[in-house]
C-alpha cells in the first residue's frame, strides 16, 4: 500500500463491503428515527401523521420508564460484578496445575455455547421452579420452605441466569491474561517478601486490569440488551419488576402494536447505551492505553 495507485485500488476493493455495512447500519437507524416522529400504530389504520416529539413524551412519562431504566442498570452492574469477581477467582483456580486441566477448561466454557433462551428455560424449569426445581428440592430436603425465585426475586434470578452465561467468557479471557503473566515477576515478588495475598493484589490484579477492562466493555454492550432471558422466564414481571429497557421497547411496539412509541424507545435506548459507553471509557478506558 505504498503508491497512490495501490492505495486507490485498495479503497476501491474494500468499498463494496464498507458501503454495504454502512447501509446495513444507517438504513434501520434512519428509519427508526423517522418512525419515532410519526403517530404510527398498527391497530389504527390510516395516515401516519408527523407528530414531532410526542412519542418521546409518552415514552418518558410512561410509568414503566424509570423502573425499566433502573432495572437495566441493576442488571448490567449485577452481572458485571458477579462475572468479573467470579471470573478472576475461577481463573486463579483453573491456573493451578491439576489433573484433567484441558478437559476442565473446555467444560468451563460450555455454558457460553448454550443459547440464552435454552439456558433461561433450563434455569426456570429445572432449577428455580418452586415445585420441581432442584433448589426447591434442596430447600425441602433441608427442611425449609421452597423459595419461588422468579416471582419473589425476579430481577435477582435473571441476574443469576445471565451471570451464569457470561461467567465462562470472563473466566476464559482472565485466565489467558493470567497465563501471560511473567512467572519471574511473581518470583521476584516472592523474594521481595510478598505473601500470596500481596502478590495477588500488587502483581496479579494490576496485570489483569486490561483484560478485565475488555471483559467489562464487551459484556456491557451485550448486557444492555438482555431480552431472551426475560421473555422466557418472567415476561418482565411481576408488574414491571424485571422489565428492562429492551423489554419495555418490545412490550410497547409489539404488544401494543405502536411502532412510533417503540421506535422512540429504541432511540432512547441507543442514546442511553452511548452515555454508558462514554462513562465506561472515561472510567476504565485508560487501562487499554499502553
Amino acid at each position: 500500500m505504498a503508491t497512490q495507485a495501490s492505495r486507490a485500488a485498495g479503497r476501491l476493493m474494500i468499498s463494496p463491503a464498507v458501503i454495504l455495512l454502512f447501509l446495513w447500519m444507517i438504513v434501520p437507524l434512519g428509519m427508526t428515527i423517522w418512525f419515532s416522529f410519526l403517530r404510527y400504530n398498527l391497530l389504527i389504520p390510516g395516515d401516519n401523521p408527523f407528530v414531532g416529539i410526542e412519542n418521546y413524551q409518552y415514552f418518558f412519562t410512561d410509568p414503566n420508564f424509570w423502573p425499566a431504566l433502573w432495572n437495566t442498570l441493576t442488571l448490567v452492574l449485577g452481572v458485571l460484578a458477579i462475572t468479573t469477581i467470579g471470573g478472576i477467582l475461577l481463573a486463579l483456580l483453573l491456573d493451578q496445575p491439576m489433573f484433567g486441566q484441558g478437559i476442565v477448561r473446555v467444560l468451563v466454557i460450555a455454558p457460553f455455547f448454550v443459547m440464552p433462551t435454552v439456558s433461561a428455560l433450563v434455569w426456570k424449569n429445572m432449577f428455580m421452579n418452586p415445585v420441581n426445581g432442584l433448589f426447591a428440592w434442596i430447600a425441602r430436603t433441608l427442611g425449609f420452605a421452597p423459595f419461588d425465585f422468579l416471582s419473589a426475586a425476579p430481577l435477582f434470578s435473571i441476574i443469576l441466569i445471565v451471570a451464569w452465561q457470561w461467567l465462562p467468557f470472563a473466566t476464559l479471557i482472565l485466565l489467558t491474561a493470567l497465563q501471560s503473566l511473567d512467572s519471574e515477576q511473581l518470583e521476584a515478588a516472592e523474594m521481595d517478601g510478598a505473601g500470596a495475598v500481596s502478590r495477588f493484589f500488587y502483581i496479579m490484579l494490576p496485570h489483569l486490569a486490561r483484560a478485565a477492562t475488555v471483559v467489562i466493555l464487551i459484556q456491557t454492550i451485550f448486557l444492555l440488551s438482555v431480552f431472551a432471558e426475560i421473555l422466557v422466564t418472567t415476561n418482565g414481571g411481576p408488574g414491571n419488576a424485571s422489565t428492562n429497557l429492551t423489554y419495555l421497547v418490545y412490550s410497547q411496539s409489539l404488544l401494543q402494536y405502536d411502532v412510533g412509541l417503540g421506535s422512540a424507545g429504541g432511540i432512547v435506548a441507543v442514546i442511553l447505551a452511548n452515555i454508558v459507553a462514554i462513562f465506561l471509557m472515561r472510567m476504565i478506558g485508560k487501562n487499554l492505553e499502553t
Binding site: 518470583e187 521481595d192 494490576p206 486490569a209
Partner: protein, 330 residues
C-alpha cells in the same frame, strides 16, 4: 554476613536428576560465578539457593543456619532476574520501594533508602518513570536497586546481562564489579559467558550436567584446568585439542594448546594452510588447517597472513596441557 554452604544438595525433576549430590562453600564477601553451558543446572542451583525451588535432598546453610526449608523471603537473599522482572505498572520509585513496603518499614525510612539506592545507581532523575519508559541498562539498574535496598546477606544474579547489547554489557559488568567492591556483600552470579566469569569473579564454579567440574580463581582455572572440559570452556578462543601420534609424543592421550600459546611463522612444527584470517588490529585470529585438524591461532598485533597462505605453527612447550583417556589432566 553472607556465608553460604551447600551440603549434599540434590535436585530431581520427576525421574531426571538435574543436580547430583553437590557440596559447595561460598565465603563471606566473595564474588562467585557459576558458569557452564546451557542446561548444566547453574540456574537451577541458584534457584535452590534462593528458595524458589525445593531441594530433593541435602541441606543449605546460610550464615551457619539451616535454611533448607525457609521461604525465599526469610533467607535474606536478593535476586536479579534475567528478564529484570520489574513490576510494569509501578514507577521506578515504587519498584525499588516494594521490598521495603512488604517489610512494613515506615514511609520516611522507605523514602530515605530509595533515594540512597537511586543515587548510587544514577537513577535519581528516573524515579517517577515506568519501567517501560527506560532503556535496557536503566531497567537493569532498577532491578539491582530493588535488590540493594533490602541490604541482603547475598545477591543472586541470574544471567543479568544477557539481554543487553555488547557495549552496554561491558559497562554493566564494570558497574556490578564496582558495586561489589563498595558493598563487600557476597554475590553469586550465573552466566554462560566465560568472559563475564573471568572478568568479575573471585571464584569460578564450572558446572557440567549438574556436577561441579572445578572451583578456583579465574587464573587458576586458566592455568591449571583439572580436566578437558574446563580447559575447553575457559579461555576464548577455545583451546585446541590434538590427539593421536602428536599427543603420544608427549606421552598423553590428548594434548591441548591455547590459541595464544601457538606461534605462527615461516618455520615450525606443524605445517598448515590458513582457511580464515580475522584481522582486528590488536590481534590476528587464524584458522589453520593442518594434518592434526583445524587449529586456531591468536597472534598479537597484525600478521600479514591471508586465506590460502601456508604457515608453520609452533606450540609453546611450557603451555601444553596433557590429558589422559578419561579427559583428566596429567
Amino acid at each position: 554476613m553472607g556465608q553460604i554452604e551447600l551440603k549434599g544438595v540434590t535436585k530431581q525433576f520427576g525421574d531426571v536428576e538435574v543436580i547430583p549430590p553437590l557440596d559447595l562453600q561460598i565465603n563471606e564477601g566473595e564474588f562467585v560465578v557459576f558458569v557452564g553451558p546451557s542446561g548444566c543446572g547453574k540456574s537451577t542451583l541458584l534457584r535452590l539457593i534462593a528458595g524458589l525451588e525445593d531441594t530433593s535432598g541435602g541441606k543449605i546453610f546460610i550464615d551457619g543456619k539451616d535454611a533448607t526449608d525457609l521461604r525465599p523471603a526469610q533467607r535474606r537473599l536478593a535476586m536479579v532476574f534475567q528478564s529484570y522482572a520489574l513490576y510494569p505498572h509501578m514507577s521506578v520509585r515504587k519498584n525499588i520501594a516494594f521490598p521495603l513496603k512488604m517489610a512494613k518499614l515506615s514511609q520516611a525510612e522507605i523514602d530515605k533508602k530509595v533515594e540512597g539506592a537511586a543515587k548510587v545507581l544514577n537513577l535519581s532523575s528516573y524515579l517517577d518513570r515506568r519501567p517501560g519508559q527506560l532503556s535496557g541498562g536503566q531497567r537493569q539498574r532498577v532491578a539491582i536497586g530493588r535488590a540493594i535496598v533490602r541490604e541482603p546477606a547475598a545477591f543472586l544474579f541470574d544471567e543479568p546481562l544477557s539481554n543487553l547489547d555488547a557495549a552496554l554489557r561491558v559497562n554493566m559488568r564494570l558497574e556490578i564489579s564496582e558495586l561489589h567492591n563498595s558493598l563487600k556483600t557476597t554475590m553469586i552470579y550465573v552466566t554462560h559467558d566465560q568472559v563475564e566469569a573471568m572478568t568479575m569473579a573471585d571464584q569460578i564454579v564450572v558446572l557440567q550436567a549438574g556436577r561441579i567440574e572445578q572451583v578456583g580463581s579465574p587464573l587458576d582455572l586458566y592455568r591449571h584446568p583439572r580436566n578437558r572440559f574446563v580447559a575447553g570452556f575457559i579461555g576464548s578462543p577455545k583451546m585446541n585439542f590434538i590427539g593421536g601420534a602428536e599427543a603420544a609424543k608427549h606421552s598423553a592421550h590428548e594434548i591441548g594448546v591455547r590459541p595464544e600459546h601457538i606461534k605462527a611463522g615461516q618455520s615450525g612444527e606443524w605445517q598448515g594452510r590458513v582457511t580464515v584470517s580475522e584481522h582486528l588490529g590488536s590481534d590476528t585470529y587464524l584458522h589453520v588447517q593442518t594434518d592434526h585438524g583445524l587449529i586456531n591461532v591468536r597472534a598479537d598485533g597484525e600478521i600479514g597472513l591471508h586465506h590460502g597462505d601456508t604457515v608453520w605453527l609452533t606450540p609453546d612447550p611450557a603451555c601444553i596441557h596433557k590429558f589422559d583417556a578419561n579427559g583428566m589432566t596429567i
